[in-house]
């Protein structure tokens, strides 16, 4: 289809305006984190008149009032372990379903659909109660393992493998490769983009989850950074916009970096393969 130059310019200008509107909350967050209390409460200008770093000092320094760095560390442990667990479990299960001789595998799709229709709220509090019975509240365990019951990941990789020709694997087996070698040198390189997509989506899900950590964590030391920020927003803590935005910046930047770095993986075929 031919397009005129003028139309392109119009589209780009329109898109730029929308993009500015989109970035406004993030720009507000960053600039406010450099404002003092008085200015942040009264100014209608986005840019600080006077740039100060006291807000960051008060949350990151040695005498920090809120342990944001500790929360970030917790988030790091939980997201890395949780993502690794999901990828490990889902890749093996998907391969087993797509290629191997698994008894009862024809029921699997039905189970996936059934499980997807169960709203999360139905299992959330019983799961909380069970973890509590095993004295696992305020440990990393419930924060890590709960995400591994996600059937969508298995389904995503399974549908990708279904469309991937078997010839290479068969050739490798004829050449004497073991199951492990087939997985390591044939399958894994082929499914890398899907696995990367699953890993990033899982990482962001765990990083940003709020309800589950708020249910299984009660002490300040065990909070994830997402949960920690929630505490700053609620009740009597809601006093200093600059300081709260500084904490929000620190909490958000790692996820934003991961997101932008992994953005190229959110490519067409990968994201839509799970839908078909």
């Amino acid at each position: 289809m031919k397009k005129s130059k003028g139309k392109d310019v119009f589209i780009v200008i329109l898109a730029s305006l929308v993009a500015l509107l989109f970035l406004l909350p993030l720009i507000f967050m960053i600039f406010t984190s450099f404002k003092g209390l008085g200015e942040a409460m009264s100014s209608s200008a986005l840019l600080p008149k006077e740039w100060i770093i006291d807000n960051y000092r008060s949350i990151l320094g040695a005498s920090a009032e809120v342990p944001v760095l500790l929360w970030l560390f917790n988030t790091g442990v939980v997201t890395l372990a949780g993502t690794a667990l999901v990828v490990f479990v889902d890749v093996l299960a998907a391969y087993s379903l797509a290629r191997l001789n698994l008894p009862g595998k024809k029921y699997f799709l039905g189970i996936v659909v059934a499980a997807l229709t169960i709203p999360g709220i139905v299992t959330l509090f019983p799961a909380f109660y069970l973890f509590r019975e095993f004295n696992l509240i305020n440990t990393y365990v419930p924060l890590i393992v709960i995400y591994s019951a996600n059937t969508l990941g298995v389904f995503l990789i399974y549908s990708f493998l279904k469309g991937f020709p078997k010839d290479l694997e068969e050739a490798a087996v004829i050449d004497g490769a073991s199951l492990w070698q087939v997985l390591r040198f044939v399958i894994f390189p082929a499914i890398k983009p899907v696995v990367a997509t699953l890993a990033v989506l899982t990482f962001l899900t765990i990083y940003n989850d709020f309800l589950w950590p708020s249910v299984v964590t009660s002490t300040d030391e065990m909070k994830t950074v997402t949960l920690g920020v929630a505490n700053l927003v609620q009740g009597a803590n809601f006093v200093n916009p600059g300081r709260m935005m500084a904490a929000t910046v620190v909490a958000t930047i790692p996820a934003l970096i991961i997101f932008v770095a992994a953005n190229k993986y959110f490519v067409k075929s990968v994201m839509s393969s799970g839908l078909k």
Partner: protein, 292 residues
């Protein structure tokens, strides 16, 4: 390729174990709890049959009052949010689709970036934008001599603020799926339509929309589910106010567990909520794919 049954089962086992432990067991345990008087600290207080369900569904007691209020507020949000969340993301996808290709990735990334922000950060930002006293929006209104609005403590402004925060936070994901669907539309159809003198609107209605209808229905359904699960934004931005008008079902259930220590009633509420969601999704599905 011949690989033994043992290996197949062994590879499948870790997932099966997780699936059973963290989904199947809690699901059936939740049904079991909902049929008992059950407190978080005291545990099982005896079988009560359907009493918990009767309590939350029969009007006129504290449980049903809380439940119906939560259900009503949640349905209000579903009603006001689903159309903008789907339509705006479709509009954005169409916009990105028409951007010259060398700039496409940039704008797609910008429109999708809020997906990486947590609900607590979103709430922190929008609460400081909309808070009545010292909030940025009111500071701007003040500068232009407009009357300030007590956004989070009045209705309908509280819903408007929550809706704006939610739209900003979640449309990127919907947009990405729409962009993927638009990429799959057969370009030859547009060429043929142009030759027949069709305008943009005709092309959208007769080519684009029918081609992406499957994704459209899917996104509508997952948006309904997401709106049903409204929790973080209302908890953090309005704390359920003003006068409990933004108290959502999940907030009600959460308080039943942690403030009232009543896991039995909370589990029954979760079951009913899950049931309502499944019914709505099933109706949507059946309606969208009915034979015309």
């Amino acid at each position: 390729m011949r690989i033994s049954k043992t290996w197949s089962v062994l590879m499948y086992l870790p997932f099966l174990l997780c699936f059973i432990l963290f989904l199947v067991v809690p699901f059936f345990y939740g049904i079991y709890i909902s049929l008992h008087q059950w407190s978080v600290f005291g545990g099982n207080g005896g079988f009560v049959g359907l009493d918990n369900y009767t309590a939350i569904l029969t009007p006129g007691n504290i449980y049903s009052n809380a439940f119906y209020n939560g259900l009503k507020n949640t349905l209000v949000f579903v009603a006001i949010s689903v159309v903008p969340l789907v339509i705006i993301s479709l509009a954005l996808a169409l916009l990105v689709d028409s951007i010259p290709s060398n700039l496409k990735v940039f704008f797609r990334t910008v429109f999708f970036i809020s997906y990486a922000v947590s609900v607590t950060a979103v709430s922190a930002i929008f609460k400081w934008l909309f808070t009545g006293n010292g909030g940025y929006v009111n500071n701007v209104f003040d500068t232009f001599g407009l009357n300030t609005i007590n956004w989070l403590n009045d209705q309908p402004s509280a819903w408007i603020a929550i809706l704006i925060a939610t739209v900003w936070w979640t449309i990127g994901f919907n947009m990405i799926l729409f962009i993927n669907a638009l990429d799959d539309v057969d370009q030859n159809l547009y060429e043929a339509a142009s030759l027949d003198g069709a305008n943009s609107w005709n092309k959208f209605m007769h080519i684009t929309f029918p081609s992406i209808k499957g994704v459209f229905v899917f996104l509508t359904i997952i948006t309904v589910i997401a709106s049903f699960n409204l929790y973080g934004q209302t908890l953090l931005m309005t704390a359920g106010g003003p006068s409990q008008s933004t108290q959502t079902l999940i907030m009600v259930i959460q308080q039943m567990v942690f403030n009232q220590n009543n896991l039995g009633v909370a589990s029954a509420m979760a079951m009913v909520m899950g049931f309502v969601m499944v019914i709505i999704v099933a109706v949507q599905y059946a309606y969208s794919f009915r034979k015309e």
